[in-house]
Symmetry: C2
Subunit: 381 residues, 2 copies
């Protein structure tokens, strides 16, 4: 697919997120929230009702653009993330993705035997055109929209994303979410040859998919290894991280004259931090079970870190939210090091924001992160 | 409650498990399985059908004895574990435990507000007499039963157990299982004072409960911190480990002239291994996400380790089960160290055995663990 820049190259009004990803100095710690366009926002629910369904929302570039921008219109977040689902790629492979009301994703045609694995192919990226169209549409909207204060708040980078090869495999084999991963782990242990073939197809497909998002205008990309943490230690290395590494190695890393940072997030992956940090990504996402300061020491600022407030903190009163946010920032510590090198911290939750979150508490979070991180920077820039 | 030894002090025919817990030399690596008396066994399902319900099973010393011994009659496992539930203590506090068919546990009276927390008290241990009666009954049966080969297979130690204060709190506040722990974490962050009061009562109750199990004849005790791993790093230390430590400190550590080992298992706790290993327990249980050899290096044999095969491995063919079991044993390595000190390894799964497990695969596991560990011991004892 030829590169088609979606928009005139408008300079980014706010590139704090990209700079933190690349461990460059920033005036404050940038912030975005996993699942920031979601059910905790009344305006999201209104748009979703108009779209009729989750897939109706995700497959319409107009609706996807509308909901992607919604959280940015409320708060000065430092990045936008494409509104989509992690399972678009297996859907394009013909597995038939749907979302029943009140339930998680479901595949009509799960991959459960040798014949089904052999049939899998990297899908024609044309089948995912609605995603790339959404990326272009969001970039256009970001270049022109204004925030509540009338500033061009849209001028933040857009993050594209995909599920990791292993995480896609979990859903493809189980056919839905699972609490014991019995079917996918049975294939992994009983027929590792089939699992490797499946993961190899996934890795190629995910790399092509993310590269097409970058071509369409994504300024950073994130791989969600949501289920890497359910694997045994050796299996994580052989069946998850190996294929994450293959995807990262195949990514385009520059677009519009800037580096396109890559973020890898493995939920429950804190024990493998050093290995994940060596996978080629610029940024490693952490869930809330790992202390950020100790994580930083372990990787010695070789990559930036993203995270890691427990989303449940947002259920507490605003002053508690602010205190806990400051604790995360203080745990990371000053990005500038005495030796002249620089760490990078992108503030985020350790997992997607809950639908039960009050938007008022998000306001307290954004204010605390921006305010505290700016206040403790050694010299204002 | 006065100490009432249940049985004549019959010498243990097989004390391999107790010796491994205490890092003493053993002729092979002992093995038992979390939830070894469970739904994967047809004979268990038959007994449960006769009992009418899970609670009918757990509250009857006769039924509890019957199912506790069932796995030992099939395989030469090295320990028995009391058949009971981790939630007996809050049930005795008056919360009304029940198990709906096909669902998890549920409390009729969850603890959701200040008044409910203030009402909580350490229950009269008389309300848990059915548990202590079961312990006595199982000890009696273990002293006389024979295995498939006509040997006194029952002569293995009996493990008593409880949920940890934090894990009990999760169920007490949520009222059931949860996938986001919204209610209990909201209390933790919004009203830490209430959460500490609740945990303090739980810790006192759990210590009294385990000590009464030891008085009744339990030869080792295990604390299941099944939900410690859902906490943020700082919260784990303040709200889970602190109260686990309080329980361990209050335990009787000797009975019938032998040390009573204490095992602490935190699912998802691999990142906190050093801290957990310092809580006073003799043995730390590990789930499958941590490499056993690296875990052993981190704690330098200051405690024994229990684990840690992924229960999903048992879905694979028997030769794969055997290979993966050997890999766990090899990862731990020789218990005897060149410096003359000794490590301890108790083989187990990294979590409870699945109801979908074939008993034939368990046979392959038991054989592989006993056979391989015996074969690689430097000198047969």
């Amino acid at each position: 697919m030829p590169r088609m820049p979606a928009v005139e190259a408008a300079p980014l009004a706010n590139d704090t997120f990209l700079r933190a990803c690349l461990r460059e100095p920033t005036a404050y710690t940038p912030l975005w929230l996993m699942r920031q366009a979601g059910r905790y926002l009344p305006e999201y629910n209104a748009t979703r009702a108009r779209a009729g369904s989750f897939m109706g929302l995700a497959t319409s570039p107009d609706f996807a653009t509308e909901v992607t921008l919604q959280p940015l219109e409320r708060w000065p977040l430092d990045a936008a993330i494409l509104f989509s689902d992690i399972l678009t790629v297996p859907d394009a492979m013909g597995l038939g993705l749907s979302f029943a009301a009140g339930e998680g994703p479901r595949f009509a045609h799960p991959v459960r035997d040798e014949a089904a694995v052999r049939r899998l192919e990297v899908p024609d990226m044309e089948r995912l055109r609605y995603v790339f169209d959404a990326v272009r549409s969001i970039r256009k909207a970001l270049a022109t929209s204004k925030d509540a204060n009338g500033r061009p708040a849209g001028r933040v980078p857009l993050i594209g994303f995909s599920g990791s090869p292993w995480t896609l495999a979990c859903y493809m084999v189980e056919g839905a979410g699972s609490d014991d991963y019995r079917l996918v782990k049975t294939m992994l242990y009983a027929r590792p040859d089939l699992m490797h073939r499946l993961l190899d197809v996934n890795a190629q497909a995910v790399a092509a998919y993310l590269n097409a998002q970058i071509d369409a205008g994504a300024q950073a990309v994130m791989l969600f290894d949501s289920w890497g943490g359910v694997l045994a230690d050796a299996a994580f290395h052989d069946f998850s991280l190996r294929y994450t590494r293959a995807v990262v190695a195949a990514l385009k890393r520059e677009a519009e004259g800037r580096r396109v940072p890559c973020i890898v997030f493995t939920k429950g992956g804190g024990g493998w931090l050093e290995d994940i940090a060596a996978c080629g990504a610029d940024v490693v996402g952490l869930d809330w079970t790992t202390d950020l300061g100790r994580a930083r020491k372990r990787i010695d600022d070789r990559v930036a870190l993203q995270g890691n407030l427990d989303p449940a903190v947002l259920f507490a009163p605003p002053d508690t939210v602010a205190r806990e946010a400051r604790a995360v920032l203080d745990s990371f510590g000053p990005a500038a090091r005495p030796d002249g090198r620089h760490g990078g911290h992108v503030f985020n939750l350790g997992h997607g924001i809950s639908q039960h979150t009050s938007p008022e508490h998000v306001a307290a979070l954004v204010e605390a992160v921006h305010g505290h991180s700016r206040a403790v920077r050694p010299r204002p820039r």
